[in-house]
């Protein structure tokens, strides 16, 4: 199977994720969409690794997963903290940090 298919799927998933990040306002969903973008990248990495026949891309994918896990931990922690302080769970409302 041509590598192009993998890349097309990867690009599609990436675009879905990016679109979700841009249009959704719930931080939980934004995090999920970010995961989609990361996994799209992972898919592309593994596809290239297979094309070149070495393991570098796979290792990268593993590292990306670790980073993604960390990011989710921090992000979910922030969301829980927001929830506890009874702040609106909406990124458009949370805009105190501005110039």
């Amino acid at each position: 199977m041509s590598i192009a298919w993998y890349l097309v799927v990867s690009a599609l998933i990436f675009c879905i994720g990016a679109g979700g990040v841009l249009v959704r306002r719930n931080p939980l969903v934004i995090l999920l969409c970010l995961e989609l973008m990361l996994n799209a990248a992972n898919l592309a990495l593994i596809a290239f690794a297979r094309m070149h026949g070495n393991a570098d891309g796979q290792i990268f994918a593993l590292i990306v997963m670790v980073v993604a896990a960390c990011e989710v931990t921090v992000g979910l922690g922030l969301i829980v903290a927001i929830f506890r302080r009874r702040l609106p769970i909406d990124v458009d409302e949370l805009r105190e940090l501005q110039g």
């Binding site: 990016a18 458009d92 110039g99």
Partner: protein, 672 residues
């Protein structure tokens, strides 16, 4: 060891003492600091003696040795800045005087400063001062001379303001520093004038250039350079009109007054003129200026000393007056006479200051002659030393000051012409010297014993319950104040006694090395340095010399007799003299209004100019345009940029994506 190695060691020991005392004061403890401070200078003196012996081993023509450790910048014919020393009879002579007297003063300080809190700091400063002074006298070029010159000024500032909680002391330190910096500026500018045509900073090179005619057709530059160098010499040597710092410098501890303001630092100007004599002989206008200023100073300082009541200030004005003699001598070309007086003066003036310190100790810090009287029985040793110093200072034979002062005056008289005026004024000054010296002695030691003296006769040393500033009576905090809670007198402290005894011997016999028609030790020793001087063979005739000696003796004895008549035989007659010569008295007691004059001519115009610039330039241009302008530009810029930071998370994410996509697109297009 070679001669220059000895000379480098002379420099190394005080520097090591400074560093050890300055950095290791926590570990050394009190005794250690004093021992290291004294030993380092003592070793420097031993090395100076080594340099002397080694130097005498050379031929008379080859007694100017240079040694360079480091080249800062050497270009052919433009500049030669080196870390070099010049060892010749003059520099060895100065090094011997500086280290020899300093050793004794360090020894004296071990006791005198015993209970001071800043004991180690004191010795670190004192060693630093001696090191600076040695750099000044041993430096082989103008560069090191200027470095030493500035270091000495800094060290004197540190030592004058040593009791830094005392307001008058810090002010006196600042005054001394500022006036010395005026001198530094003069010296540096003068050096530029010389360097411009000689093309070298090295002393010997400069002298060769001057003899080789480097200044032919540029005589004005040479005179200007010499006059500017004289400004430096006058500031350091407290000559009119740059003298006002010296009396105020008496705020420092008494051994400091003894070291800096009597024996060593103030003689730097004399050394400078003697060192640069080939320049000054080519510029007689500058040399004559030095002689005249020296003469004016010796007269004015002598008159002021007649009326001062602070014992240390009387000695300070006396120092000014004696330095005036030396400057007059070297200005007139009598280098050997001036340097001879420098050496004898170092002995008896250091001795007088030490004895004064002992009396001040007995008075529990009070320095006013008004309160002292009748210490003769209570302090026999101090009294003896003071009398020896006083006899030497007033020039009574056979004490040392007699020979050196008369050599100066005979030389000046022998120059003839206008110098005869200086000769006559010199003898007037000699008479004044005897009067003010013995006024001090009669007031402090004769008469009805004061309370402190009576107590001391019964074995009780006066103790100030509340330490006060002798200058203005302010109560001091005893944390950092007058030499600690305990005072010391020479009778009870062996180191002080030893130092004063050695100086008293020196003050008595030092003159015997140079008795007219008998021996010429100093002349013979210094001759190689001054061999190129046109005055070296100007020996005054025997008639003039012996007339001068007789006149000097008579004037000294007359002065002593007058002082005895006023202050001992007819007590209270001083008040009658004061009213009879009221205008003169006011002139003298107000120090000829020099402080006020300088205040009016220099300080106030500058302060007014400074205030004016602050109001106009500083406020409007610096604060308004520069400072406020910069902040308002930054503020306007930041408020423009701040608008981008909306706080909308999705807006940021969109920008990020668009930006990333733009970068990817650019590379895609660029690569295809």
């Amino acid at each position: 060891m070679s001669t220059t190695t000895w000379a480098w060691l002379v420099l190394a020991f005080p520097l090591a003492g400074t560093l050890i005392n300055g950095l290791g004061y926590r570990r050394l403890g009190r005794a250690g600091a004093g021992v290291i401070g004294t030993a380092s200078i003592g070793l420097a003196f031993v090395c100076a003696v080594g340099a002397l012996i080694s130097l005498q081993g050379h031929d008379a023509e080859h007694r100017a040795l240079t040694s360079s450790l480091w080249d800062y910048a050497v270009t052919n014919g433009d500049v030669d800045a080196q870390l070099s020393i010049l060892v010749d009879p003059l520099s060895v002579y100065m090094a011997l005087v500086v280290t020899g007297i300093s050793t004794l003063i360090h020894l004296y300080s071990v006791s005198y400063m015993q209970s001071d809190r800043g004991y180690a700091r004191y010795f670190a400063y004192l060693n630093f001062f001696v090191f600076s002074m040695l750099v000044l006298v041993l430096g082989g070029n103008f560069l090191l001379l200027i470095v030493g010159w500035a270091f000495v000024g800094a060290a004197s500032y540190l030592l004058i303001s040593f009791w830094y909680r005392r307001g008058t002391a810090t002010q006196a330190g600042i005054k001394a520093f500022v006036i010395n910096v005026v001198g530094d500026v003069g010296l540096v500018l003068g050096t530029f004038f010389v360097l411009r045509y000689s093309g070298t900073l090295d002393f010997l090179g400069t002298f060769r250039a001057v003899e080789g005619g480097a200044f032919d057709g540029h005589h004005g530059a040479l005179v200007a350079g010499c006059l500017l160098i004289l400004v430096g010499a006058f500031a350091k040597s407290a000559q009119i009109p740059l003298h006002t710092w010296l009396p105020d410098a008496m705020e420092g501890p008494t051994p400091v007054s003894s070291l800096i303001h009597a024996a060593t630092m103030v003689t730097a100007g004399v050394y400078l003129v003697a060192r640069l004599h080939p320049l000054f002989e080519q510029a007689p206008a500058a040399a004559d200026t030095a002689a005249v200023i020296g003469c004016v100073t010796l007269l004015i300082a002598g008159t002021i000393a007649l009326t001062q009541t602070d014992i240390k200030r009387v000695i300070a004005y006396s120092t000014m007056s004696q330095i005036g003699y030396m400057i007059m001598a070297v200005g007139a070309g009598g280098y050997v006479a001036g340097l001879f007086h420098l050496m004898t003066h170092a002995f008896f003036k250091a001795l007088l200051f030490m004895a004064a310190g002992s009396i001040i100790g007995a008075m529990a810090g009070a320095q006013s002659l008004e309160r002292m009287s009748g210490f003769r029985k209570a302090m026999p040793f101090t009294f003896g030393c003071f009398v020896v110093g006083g006899l030497a200072l007033s020039g009574v034979p056979p004490f040392s000051g007699f020979f050196s002062k008369d050599e100066i005056l005979a030389f000046v008289g022998n120059r003839g012409g206008g110098f005869v005026v200086l000769y006559v004024i010199g003898y007037v000054g000699a008479f004044l010297t005897a009067v003010y010296t013995w006024r001090m002695i009669f007031r402090a030691f004769w008469g009805e014993p004061c309370a402190e003296a009576r107590e001391l006769e019964h074995g009780h040393l006066a103790h100030a319950e509340v330490p006060t500033n002798p200058a203005n009576g302010e109560v001091e905090d005893s944390d950092v104040g007058f030499p600690g809670p305990e005072h010391t007198i020479a009778e009870r402290a062996l180191p002080m006694k030893v130092a004063m005894t050695l100086l008293a011997i020196g003050a008595t016999v030092a003159g015997l090395v140079q008795i007219p028609t008998v021996d010429h030790v100093i002349t013979n020793f210094l001759e190689p340095t001054f061999a190129d001087s046109k005055y070296i063979h100007d020996e005054p005739g025997n008639g003039l010399v012996f007339f001068g000696m007789a006149l000097g003796t008579v004037l000294a004895l007359l002065g002593i007799a007058l002082a005895h008549r006023i202050w001992v035989a007819r007590p209270g007659s001083a008040a009658a003299w004061r009213t009879r010569f009221a205008p003169a008295y006011h002139l003298f007691v107000n120090k000829w209004w020099f402080d006020e004059l300088i205040d009016l001519v220099v300080v106030r115009p500058f302060a007014a100019f400074g205030n004016f610039s602050r109001r106009t330039f500083e406020r409007a241009v610096v604060e308004g345009a520069f400072v406020d302008g910069t902040t308002s530009v930054v503020r306007a810029g930041s408020s423009a940029v701040r608008a981008i930071q909306t706080g909308f998370l999705r807006y940021y994410a969109a920008l990020l994506l668009v930006g990333g996509a733009a970068v990817v697109l650019y590379f895609l297009i660029a690569s295809s």
